[in-house]
Amino acid sequence: METNSIKYCIATFLSLALFQWAGAQQRISGTVRDKNGEVIPSAAVVLSPGGEATRTDSAGHFSLQTMAKGKASLLFTSIGYKPLRKEILLTEPALQLDIILSTNIQSLHAVTISAGSFEASDKAKGASLTAIDAFTVAGNNADLAMALRSLPGAQQIGELEGLFVRGGTGDETKQFMDGTLIKNPNYPSVPGVQQYARLNPILFKGILFSSGGYSATYGQAMSSALILESADLPEKSSAYFSVFSANQSAGMQKLARNGRSSYGVTVRYSNQALYNSIVPQGPDYFRGPEYREGDANFRIKRGKTGMLKFYTNWNSSDVGMRNPDIDSPSLRSSYRVRGMNSYNNLSYRDRLGQDWKLETGLAYDHNRVHTEEKNNQRQIFSDLVQGRVVLTRQFSNNQALRFGAEHFYSRDHGRSNDSAIALTDHLTAGFAEADLYLSEQLAARAGVRAEYSSVPGRGTVAPRLSLAWRMKDGGQFNLAYGIFYQEPSDDVLYQARDLRFSGATHYILNYIKKANNRLFRIEAYDKEYKDLVKIATLIGNGGKGYARGMEVFFRDKRSVRNLDYWVTYTYLDTRRDYWNYPYALRPSFATPHTATVAIKKNFQELNTFVNISYAFATGRPYYDIRYSAPDKGYKIYDQGTTKNYSVLNLQVAHLVSILRKSKQRPVAGFSAGVNNILGAHPLFGYNYSADGGIKMPVTLPATRYYYIGFFMSFGIDRTTDLLNNDAN
């Protein structure tokens, strides 16, 4: 009996097998997982010989059919994993395989898109910048934009705040917080005196300083975008205060007991009157300068991945000063500007299911500026509301498709002398962008941005493209291309409406290498401006220009223990024919050569940090351009180049031990610094009288700026609780 049944079985098996050999298709299927048993979707599966290929689905499952027989092999590949070749024998009716791929540690250093940008984030590794590195550069006056002038691409413009990047004006750099525009990052400008930033840089955990070629998700900045990401929940509750020679601040952050929400409040007050009575200033101040600022925030974690954040900032300023009158130097003319601003930002981000990510933002900015000067009175109220939605579909291997839209509604009104000002503008933008990882070495980001503005009544479409190619040795080449449009500034639109967007086309080539806590970066670019605003008899879009150059950045955290330094060099060749320039000129805010050094040294045994920053720049051109009636156009009456600029800033901070006994020891210390410690007399240009007969140098309000103060912060460490919770 038994023998018979075995025979029967063999016969059946053979006939089945024969049937298979006689030409049926062989099915191969299976599941691809990683070592932890997680499925790997979108892994490539290729059969050889034959070349049949497929990809695993979202459950890591694949299935292939082949006519091939005998010995064959399957190759499994997926970015981030080591390729695996599996030998198989094509004899059975169906082959079921369980494949385990091991991670490829080398490739975890994934290629990243980085042309044109400096990223400073709290996730920075090695010698990459962190937000703290960026805003602890000496001499930054708590202004992120000032701190970033120590990076290549930015010009050293001592008489104005803001970032002048690659031949662009300060207005061509825009700042964004959690996706929304910070329209008025600094207190209202005062001629010849840099003004503070309104937002405290400590708010941000991530800073992306793009000096060109930035993502399609941002727009309306022809030269540069400063993309800021605010911090999420604090690690612990804390409070701090600081008392400095000219400003004081205090704040607190409270983290809820369950660790899922927090709120915080800070106040800052600065009055320079006392300081100015001790350290003589060029201008004779009759008001302040005085700055008041308060902000508040709450952050709520929703579900597993949702984060709702609200930030509100209220501030005001008052600066009044007298200077010798340019037209009759025996007299003095006064200038007073009062400003009030409120910036409010509500943002929400969450994951929607496995693959989708949602980011939304709503911002409201209210701004008032009241300027009084000789022959001029101006009062402007402006409101800006922005709504923004970005959706991201994530695919395996970090690939993503991002798209979204935003709308800006702005309404300005006021008076300039006797004429009324009114401007209402709707600007709508839609954008889409794809992150493509083409291989382990090659990544691309391709995007497009369309914008329409109601005031010019015109739209634009701007393509953006970035490529990154990572080499075996860890070095990476980056390429970027893009068109960047910007509406003419409000001041221009008050006077003329029939204008197009100005535009700049960027081409960027970059090489970056990070290793051993050192970072080297070199970047070359070409930027072509078109449709710049020009005033001839009428205001129009007749201007154009170019900027090209090369920049080097090197940072070293390794060579000397506890010493961190970076050096940069910026070469810039730019000409532009815009505003009242009679023809293409090197603009007065651009110089060919700039070099900066930033040094941070930690004397650990002494609990002392020393920060030094140095900037050198060749001279900038200056012009006396006036309207010439006989020539029916603008004419250069005088021009020249200033002497070289060279400024050294020093800051020393010393931590002290106090309340040693208390369980939560506070961090306390002294900080003191001098800007322009060597007492150089930089010259930024000249102011000309109406007839050109008198020119007065524009220089620093005081040669040196000193500050000294005490700060203290108290924190309640809650990590112990967390640790106990997860250990039990």
């Binding site: 250093h109 920075a124 090695g126 962190t130 703290i132 460490d717 640790l723």
Partner: protein
């Protein structure tokens, strides 16, 4: 009679099963012996893979995961001055240490838990090396807390004492660092390790202590 017939079978069965065990334990013993001589990141990387393989075949044993995590921590220490490299090792080490912890009976196996916490403390320390400025506050604290818990569970653990010595040596004086005390503890740890075995139970630490004491001079 029955007994007689049965016993050879039983013996052979016993042999086979113990042989099977020997293979597992043998592989681990072999790998741990190699670990005692490992010095370079590459060697630790090769060994880590071996421990991961052993962990897969011995899913109930905490030791292979523990040693894999230790390898990753060592790699992190060796890459101390190259923050760009460390993160993937730290992440793997953290997962492996947590896996090892999950295989322990936390109420009964206090000494074993102390070993795992010690390695977890090292793993978190390697996170700090990625960028002390940003990772220091969170992971430095975590590292110290796990070391403290290890010492609570097993005050005489020479490896936890070594980690404490490392902390005292490297933390600035103002925040409680004390190089002299570090030396005392490193010597104490070394003394406790004098009779450390060579089996599969954790016995590393001598080389680390000696390295720390060399720096002191």
């Amino acid at each position: 009679m029955k007994k007689l017939i049965f016993s050879p079978l039983a013996i052979s069965f016993f042999c086979i099963s113990s042989f099977g065990q020997m293979q597992g334990a043998g592989a681990l013993e072999n790998a741990v012996a190699k670990l005692d001589g490992a010095r370079t990141a590459k060697e630790y990387e090769t060994l880590e893979k071996e421990f991961v393989r052993i962990a897969a075949s011995e899913p109930k044993d905490w030791l292979p995961n523990y040693y894999a995590a230790y390898c990753n921590a060592r790699i992190g220490f060796l890459y101390q001055d190259d923050g760009e490299e460390i993160e993937p090792y730290s992440e793997r080490g953290e997962k492996q240490a947590q896996k090892a912890q999950s295989l322990l009976d936390t109420l009964q196996q206090k000494k074993e838990l102390a070993e795992v916490y010690t390695v977890l403390s090292l793993v978190y320390r390697t996170r700090v090396f990625i960028n002390p400025m940003t990772y220091g506050r969170k992971f430095g604290t975590l590292s110290q807390q796990y070391r403290a818990r290890a010492q609570e569970l097993d005050p005489g653990n020479p490896r936890a004492i070594y980690v404490r010595a490392w902390e005292l040596y490297n933390i600035p004086k103002m925040w409680g660092g004390d190089k002299d005390q570090a030396k005392v503890l490193a010597n104490q740890s070394l003394h406790l390790l004098e009779n450390a075995g060579t089996g599969i139970q954790p016995h590393w630490g001598k080389a680390e202590d000696e390295e720390l004491l060399r720096k002191y001079k």
